[in-house]
Amino acid sequence: MMQLLKDPILLAVATATSLPFLAMVVILIFTRHNVRLSCSISVGSISISLLSALYLLITLRHATAPIEYQTAWLLSQNVFVSFGYLLDPLSMLMLTIVATIAFLVQVYSLGYMAGDPGITRYYAFQSLFAWAMMTMVIAPGMMQLYIFWELVGLASYLLIGYYYEKTSAQQAGKKAFVMTRLGDIGFFLGLVVLLLGYGNLNILDMNQAGAAHKIPQYLLTISAMLIFCGVIGKSAQFPLMTWLPDAMEGPTPVSALLHSATMVAAGVYMFSRIFPFFAASPTAMAMALAIGTITTLLASTMAMATYDLKQVWAYSTISQLGFMVMGLAAGGYFAGVFHLTTHAGFKALLFLCSGVFIHEYHTNDMRVIGQKGGRKLYIPMICMTVGALALAGIFPFAGFFSKEAILGVLAGQSNKIWLIGGLLGAFLTAYYSFRLIFFVACPKEMAAGHGHEEADDHGHGHGGHDSHEGHHSYIFWCMAIPLIILAGVTLVLGFSQSSLEHFLLPQSAAAHGAANEGGHGGGHLALLITAVSCAIGGILLAWWEFGRKGAKQEGFLRRFVRVEELFARRWYMDDILRFLLDSVVYCGFTNIFTRNDRRVIDGGLDGFCRFTVGSGRVASFLQSGMLQYNLMVMIAVVGLIILVFVSR
């Protein structure tokens, strides 16, 4: 304890991570019924966490070596599992991201969730999430990371199923939890294999050993591939990706925080955390690259066929996560992490903007929102356009820089198919995001006859909400300010690429910079132009089909009905999974186990009982009450015994 108080860094870390936990406990136990107090406790704790994270970032930005605090948790002869904090550039960066976005989302929720009866529960779970995510991010060992990974999954389940009276929300929560759990089985198996084979799950050790090839190759490959299953589950890669669109049943701030910026990024974060370990196994990297590419393309196609606002961004998240995984798997550590950072920013922005629209018009359908006059809400509309431009990868927004970085890494691969996949993904991304923008901004016809809305149309200006809900103007500002902040960050973050690179990779930044310079010029410029033209091409196609005056607002997809249906039904993945579940798990395993339970176990016990009763019935013949039979047996036995002894 004294050490805690003496060391400011340790104090900062401990505060940042433990304060939300205390907030959750206090809210759940003591202040369930006091809305104001609960909200202030939660927002207060996350703001202190944010300040601590920023303090750490600033203090340690020039630190040459990672700082590690550990206590032994599980000790045995060959195994050492620790608990503690690891502070190196990556973890501090992620900690700051998580704290910032959690803070902004909690502030936004003050406005969005105002008036909701379960708001204290909501804030308790938000604090739970913040605690779990932050402790996971600074874990020094994989076991701690895994434990808090699961806790993050728990928070996700609780928050997705927040509107617990809705069946669809309950189902979505269960689906999310079970699917991620499925991936986590592989993750845990990988950890166990590694633990038994290597003896240590400390991240720094793993990275060093992986880079120095101290671990036998087969062990490395197997455990890397199994650990990647966790990434598949948590970061919604193929084939465990359909839980994320369903997870949009939760409140929009939850979608913004968990299912766009932070929780689903935990998989990618974990990947980058043990990147040197992974990189030592080319097989695992190849598998990750393939899965990432498939995910990107599949999700982009699915986004093209849906009219639900949040679903588009959900598919977009899956697609961008696949893109990050592609970047990391191709060897671009910095590219992947950079895209993670920028994506957190603009995806949260997009979700929060959508939240404003949903909150205002009580519908998720983009056409209805457009028709009801969505574009009149200036702040969300502008911020959403900014976010969409960043997502599409247009200069000068942050997405442009990070996407370029990843495409650059992909171009370095010998097989150009990955690069083509990435460019196609960029094209589709731009297309579907601007499809959404144009649906909202340029609706086909405005809905007539809704007098209430019409009055608002005319009366609205910049402070639209003010006249609508007069004395609740704090709701407006609570929702508007995070949007503005995030939009600003999206504008600026891209330019910090080099300083971020220097921060994250101090040793190799110089070498990387040199390589970059060498690669600049011909190849790099061509790639730049290709990528930007893909993005602009997507936007133009979207504008042609949806945005210009007199457009039919029907995508080219409409002409291929079967294809559109394929995309809309998520490539039938849900159906396939349902079928597999029914035929393999239920008809197969469950059937076998039920039969085993009924026939073998119950049957065995029943049979045993019946045997006992039956043999009792048979044995009761011995109690015939007939003296002579008893005597007979007695005499015979005595005779036998004597004979036995005599014959010895």
Binding site: L622, S624, Q628, L631
Partner: protein
Amino acid sequence: MNSLSSYLFVAAALFSLGLLGVLQRRNLIGMLISIELMLNGANINFMAFNRFLAPEPAVGQIVTLFVMGIAAAEAAIGLSIILALFRQLRSINIERAQELKG
């Protein structure tokens, strides 16, 4: 051959015949008769050992006399029990007395 073993053989035969009667006869009095045979077989054993092996001949004879006395007492009791049972069961068939049947 008249040695110990022939007397012992006779005793064993008597005893086994008596045993057969006890195990097989349904008549209670028949069982009592068989029991008397068994006792006599045992007595012959004693007398045989007494004649061929024992240091003091008188002791064996005394034991035999005592066994006879006990046999008499037992026969008296047994008969009165049979009588009582006959009055209860109206029969001296042992297979009628199965009230302890499980």
